[in-house]
Symmetry: D2
Subunit: 328 residues, 4 copies
């Protein structure tokens, strides 16, 4: 039985990720196609509190599917963690007769959505949007595929120059707690070594790998360093290595926030479109407090409770093994 | 029990696809890592018949992971369909003491591999490599993700100019029998309509869609035409539409073979690496006449028999529905 | 002596070209920096007639420097060729107190500007914006560099697949009367042959070139066909060649309007910025009926009269010769 | 009168730059077209000393025009600064009957070439190849255009995420002594401020600029820092700014050596082709100890003496002024 939902709002929260705009577009147009009045909330939960809520029609999401970032902007919002903040947000939603909320973001976003829906009679669906791919309930999160493509395009350029000289490159990529970006980009660009936050790699081990490479006539080597690595960032590691291994000249690149941007890949545009489309259809079917995610090639639901507690993501073990085998 | 495999050859056959080089690299290095002597066959089955077989070491696949095309080249080969052809190929393999074969390609490639392994005592593993994504047993084939990214980059550029004028664009994409590229790229670039080989779309229906777009103030529209569409290619469709719908100036682009090229996406590099790695490991475990494929986020086996007979690929129904809903 | 200019409008007209947005931004901000009120005219001269004129501030051109197309849109406008059209346009300008006009476009745009400024007391400066590079008075026009980059990226992808098979590709590029895009992209992608509108190339000559390539073991060949070639487009040429030269499989790509789009190259962004900056500064110095252009690495003025009559562009002779020498 | 040149060698030296391969291809094929035997020297002057000299034919430069880096590799070579080193190099050249040398590189490369040709009877032509654009005698050096395109693609991605949040980004680009890359990329990506090695910018001045931006509602700002800036790299500057200006969250990206790589832009491919073509033609006309360069749209000669002593490159003054005007 279809619930009596007439007005839906959508917001993006936490770090932005490529594909969020494709997802916003899908949410808005799927709502309008089904006769719902659609609203956009600017700057995440803060906009809900500040009543920064605007009506959206089909044309207001024209020509955004290919844009990086999020047209709704995003912000961190401490105030929404308080009861007063949530009450003010709810008052604003009621003033617009908004019955349901689609939130696009990560862990923090879902935690807020869960608490909000416990306190106030609002239907919520979460959409996993973060470049870190560290959420339970979806094989891939929105933005992850684009982020890796961005990393490998950068490293492909470094490889060009690496092969012209004999050089050793350290490239620092995002992932404070999660080595997902580092691991997949290491496979995809054929890096000689990768340092992950989840895995202690001793300096000795790294240097041994580099020495074997030099001995087997590798003309250059690339080491990917996850920003969350315990022994420090790329600059620190490079410095330590340089003291003990001087076959090559050593260079450092810190990719930083460019990994968050860029036009979303086809994968992220399609994923964002499917998740946005599913989120609204689920709300119209009466679902709430669920996350929509990709499992295999299918869209599936996971309760926010499970998504937030399980959090059991592990690095794929075949990929970990492959970083060693394929870089010989 | 590990079979007595000491020498493995790899070849690419049929149409080339981005990611094949990443896959060849993984096959060769996984073999060498496991103490196997590795060989590359140039120009597919033709090279097997012509004894165009070269030894490969770890360095011979250096710096190819990011290259489009296939360093082993590919060719169509009628001769391999004959018993004489297969016998000659086998004789050449025996001369090199090659015990097993990894073949990267599509339907035709697998048909050849199956017949060859029926006639001669050769272990074979197939890897699905084709931009068309039309094989049973793998959610995605090697090259498909890159091809769609190529298409959407092209259409993004067209969209720029479409919005500066009021225009109607017809873009012809690959897929003689399969609308996979057309469907996913239509979603990913927000096309107003898509014509698929699997689905009859009348001219009336198309024109009605375009008229609704014009009435709701779309400043331009993009129609994706699969090359296999029954009513003809993009030029034909454009001509018919122009006769009856003249709100916009009409323009045609034929993407053609540029869809086969380009540096592989991270998805295809990782997929190629995983499939190549798995293929060799399967041979070493004693598997034969199997295809390795991606199901969800896991590598799984499908027998060549099943892969070749089932062939039950269907366009994702949610995507089909979404082309209508999301382009309002 | 600085003339009494207080309000300036800017418009884009004719075919859109990448870099126009960078140029609009520079015009608007240079004006505002100098205390001028700035206006944008939507859809070229048609917008002037229809009073589609909007005030612009510094923020209204934020974040457009990297976008293809033109945010002011463009249109062809027959009405502006009539006295009535021009008078109506002038009346609208007077109603906004607009003293001067910056027009970005090609030949047709400048012809309109010249006639308009003869009939009405309006200062005008023209900025050469067209991907065809066919204007006198500027070594490069806005959009040309990006267009060639777009073409070579496409052809690089074709080359990937060309080398995997033995193939002959025909790629049709823009340029009805001008072979500029064809010639430069032929050099930049190492094409085996190029057919230009300015130069008769017999089929015999083309086939001889291809035969020499085949004889000297070229594994594939790429022929660039300018859309204005007298013997027909790429499909026609390919058909004729195929009848007489069958060493390779023959394939056709029609790039079409994707050549107009895409994020502008650094060259076009800088060129657009410099020309827009110079255009406003020239108006403030009292110049009128001039075109600003790039000569060497300097910005120089050419009168619209000269720009429109000289029109003496010739294909660079060293490049013509190089297409033959470098593709051996 | 044509000198009696029968064998020419080409080498790349110093830092690699995109377009070097296009240039090598042009040198080799222009030589072969004119009946000259062509040689490639691996690893710059070191290869000349080590007799790392290989014959090149037309096919040996097939399919490299689009590749970054240099297929001939490069190296720094202290030994070539000694008389013994030069004598050994000359002995190796004589053993191959090599009469003339084309050297592609920067200041150091040309200094070596000049001294070598003073000591031994060898004709030399220099080609300006460096991403820094800091040579006298050519408006643009090989690789500069590609490097700026690489920088702006990176910054475009950062801009996406900058606009989703309110943020301040510091991006460090190459240029130890030369702000050419920083200045042009600042214009091309619309940076709010740029710090150049040639120009002292006080922290106060920078902070004032950022405060004006914040006051006029810029949602984010990007500051480009040349690696040679006197107040330190991007990390140092960011730290100092953060202490006194906290409107935004502050983030740092160090692009590093990815600026040297990447497929060359059309501009650099054409420039490399023209310079390579001209270099060989000049040798065949009897020129020596000259550099070929681009002036305006023409190829011109500058003597190595002048190129090395004048070294009077100045940042374009209109661009400097524009960084201030266009970022309001």
């Amino acid at each position: 039985m279809r619930p009596n939902i007439k007005n839906i709002a959508v917001l993006t929260s936490g770090g932005d990720a490529p594909g969020m705009n494709a997802c916003i577009r899908a949410v808005v147009r799927t709502g309008i196609y089904n006769g719902i009045n659609m609203f956009g909330v600017l700057q995440g939960y803060q906009g809900l509190i500040n009543n920064n809520i605007i009506p959206m029609d089909a044309r207001s999401v024209s020509n955004i599917i290919h844009l990086g970032g999020t047209v709704l902007k995003t912000a961190r919002c401490l105030e929404f963690k308080t009861d007063e903040g949530m009450d003010q947000a709810y008052a604003n939603m009621k003033a617009h007769n908004i019955d349901a909320l689609v939130v696009i973001g990560g862990d923090g976003t879902f935690t807020g959505a869960r608490r909000f829906s416990e306190r106030h009679p609002v239907s919520v669906i979460g959409i996993p949007g973060t470049i870190d791919n560290d959420l339970y309930g979806s094989d891939f999160t929105l933005g992850y595929d684009t982020a890796i493509n961005t990393v490998i395009e950068a490293i492909d350029k470094i490889r060009d120059t690496a092969d012209s000289h004999d050089r050793l490159f350290f490239v620092e990529v995002m992932g404070r707690d999660s080595g997902c970006i580092a691991l997949r980009s290491a496979i995809a660009c054929g890096a000689e070594a990768v340092l992950l936050p989840e895995k202690a790699t001793s300096l000795e081990e790294l240097i041994r790998t580099l020495e074997i490479g030099a001995a087997t006539k590798k003309s250059s080597s690339i080491v990917i360093v996850s920003e969350g690595h315990k022994q420090g960032g790329a600059y620190d590691i490079a410095k330590h290595v340089k003291e003990r291994f001087n076959h090559y000249d050593t260079k450092v690149t810190i990719l930083g926030h460019l990994q968050r941007g860029g036009s979303p890949s086809s994968f992220d545009r399609i994923l964002g479109s499917r998740l946005g489309y599913a989120a609204v259809n689920e709300l119209l079917k009466g679902s709430s407090r669920q996350m929509v995610g990709l499992r295999g090639n299918d869209i599936q639901l996971t309760s926010l409770d499970e998504a937030l507690t399980a959090h059991s993501f592990k690095l794929e073990s075949d990929l970990l093994e492959m970083t060693k085998v394929l870089s010989i």
